[in-house]
Each structure stands twice: as structure tokens, then as C-alpha cells.
Symmetry: C2
Subunit: 189 residues, 2 copies
């Protein structure tokens, strides 16, 4: 496989694409789309999101030091795109998209009911990097739609129809995994 | 959609799953699998990977302050799993997997030729978080397989057959995107 070289670029792919809700001290809420996100730690559970300082959500999150990461399903893709393109400064995106909010439990920031999974997050640090600031946050509560949970309590993410983002495009998840963690060394019975 | 609440957990999904190569000062190379990774900044292009301190790669990367993120394609999934389960302390995973290495350009760390895309990274900071340390790094060079690049120079990630990781399982990417960034507000001709 012959390789062609390019200068450094944001080519980690595929990445998650999530709807982030936040609330300022006046009680105004906003939603915006983030693809620059990743899991940062298992214990305690932490993640990062990167946000441009010119974003309205940047102000809200910096003020409250809280946000919710809502994982959208496939049928919300157009809304996900809209919330990434439009600014909360010019329109109420939550109203535009008809999202139903419900209160967080550990934090004073709403989750989006329309999303199958939501993660309540408390910001631990903010690091300016250039175009974006890195928000490192602890995941303090998780909401999962009951339709994804079987009788034994197992969460079936494969039924959530999540999406991902790859080089400027949104992709649906497939429902058939190739393998489970550890399958390469599992002994056949 | 009724929600069930859980305590905080690493439930951001799907996430990327990548093969990270590193080299220590003696010239030993190692590879391991990372799913706790994300894009952190556009300008300059940066990403994060999170690594447990007990990992051999942790030592190598801390020593050299360099690593390569190699994006694996679907047919490498079993090897990706193996490199996440086995330790470089007990076996030479690069040899076990038959990976072909070639030298980095901006850094003294090899890329995996078998992967369609590789990102050379220079570490900018290391932050201990708990089970994992967060490595923030700048992407200084990108290698893309020439078969993915069309005549106009556009990179076709949809042909790379990348994989992602969701709640303990590996999934293939689909080749048909739902939409492109901005499609929700695009005017019809």
C-alpha cells in the first residue's frame, strides 16, 4: 500500500457526533453539535469535548461548568446537522427542532428526551489549544432509554441506531458487530 | 421515551478504535489498541489518547513524547483486538501480527503500512486523571493510502472500511453516508 503524505490535519476517523446541552445562570438553555469529543478516563469516568470560544455554548458551559452529552439516533441526523450549523445567538435551536427537555439529576442542565442516551457531565478543567478549548469533564450520571435495556439489565447499544462522523459526513451505525472485546484470544469450546 | 438512570460510566459511543505505535530510546517498537481517543483541536490539529500507566506503550510514549495513530480497516479487526488484549511485555505484537512498518517523516516512530491512514503525533502534555493519563498531541503529518485518493485529490474515507467501537464491540463502518455537514440548511436547486 503506497502512502501519500499530507501536512497534519484532523483525520482521526470515525468520531462520535453528539448534541451538547447547556444552561446559563439566567436559565437560558442551548444545544449545539460536537464531533470533537472522546472518552478520557475509565475511573473516574471522564470525557472531553472541544469547543470554539466564539460559540454561545462555550459561554454557557464556562458559566455553569456543566453540560449534557446526548447521543443522537439516526433519525435525528438532520437535526444534529442543523444544531452544528446554526448559532444559538440567532435562533432557539431547541424550539426549532422540537426537542423535549427533561431536568438533569446531578446537574442543573437538561437532557434531550429525544436522544436514547444522555451523559450528565461536570467540567474539571478547560484548556485553550488554539481554535478550540478542551473541556475535560466527569460523567456523573447516565440516562438510557428503557427500550434499550433487556431483562438482565444489559444495555443494547446496537438497538440505539447511533451515528458517527467521518471526514465531514454522517454515517449510520451497523447493527451487526464484527466481534467483542477479547474475541481474538477466546478459546473455542 | 422513558429513561433509566445509571451512575456515571464511559458511555460515549461510538468511539474510534486505533492502533498506536511507539518507540523507546533503545529503538524497541510497540503497538497497542486505543479506543479512548478523540479530536481535540482543528488549528493546530490535535488529538487526545488516554493510556493506563501500567501499559508498556505508556513508558515508550513518555520517553519519546511521540506516537503514531494508525486507523485500521475492517479486515484488521481481529489484530486490533489482539493488540488491545495482549501486552508488549510478554510478546512482540508487531511480529505476531505480521505488520509491516515504515518510518515516520516528522517523528522517529514507525507507521503501520497495513493501515490505510496514519497520523504522526507529537505529545504536548500528559495529564494524570485516574485509571488513565490523557496524552494531548499535535498531528504533524498524515499518511493516506493512495488508493483512497481520487484524481482531484479528494480523500475517500468511505472506501477505507474503517471500524468503530461501541460498548465493548467492534463495528464496521457503512459506506453510505446519511448526509454531509451542512445538508440540513442546503437550499434545493
Amino acid at each position: 500500500m503506497k502512502k501519500i503524505q499530507f501536512k497534519g490535519g484532523t483525520m482521526l476517523n470515525p468520531v462520535p457526533v453528539v448534541l451538547v446541552t447547556s444552561k446559563n445562570s439566567k436559565g437560558d438553555t442551548n444545544v449545539f453539535t460536537v464531533a470533537w469529543a472522546g472518552t478520557a478516563c475509565t475511573k473516574p469516568p471522564m470525557l472531553t469535548i472541544s469547543v470554539r470560544p466564539e460559540r454561545l455554548s462555550y459561554e454557557y458551559i464556562k458559566e455553569s461548568m456543566e453540560f449534557v452529552v446526548n447521543l443522537p439516533s439516526e433519525q435525528l441526523t438532520k437535526k444534529v446537522d442543523y444544531c452544528g450549523v446554526k448559532s444559538g445567538r440567532i435562533t432557539d435551536k431547541i424550539k426549532d427542532m422540537g426537542f423535549t427537555l427533561s431536568p438533569g439529576i446531578e446537574i442543573d442542565c437538561p437532557i434531550i428526551q429525544d436522544c436514547p442516551i444522555s451523559l450528565e457531565c461536570k467540567v474539571r478543567s478547560i484548556t485553550p489549544l488554539g481554535s478550540h478549548d478542551l473541556f475535560l469533564a466527569e460523567i456523573v450520571k447516565v440516562h438510557v432509554d428503557e427500550s434499550l435495556i433487556d431483562k438482565s439489565g444489559k444495555i443494547h447499544f446496537e438497538n440505539a441506531k447511533l451515528i458517527n462522523y467521518c471526514h465531514g459526513e454522517y454515517y449510520p451505525m451497523t447493527t451487526q458487530p464484527i466481534g467483542k472485546f477479547g474475541f481474538s484470544v477466546q478459546k473455542r469450546k
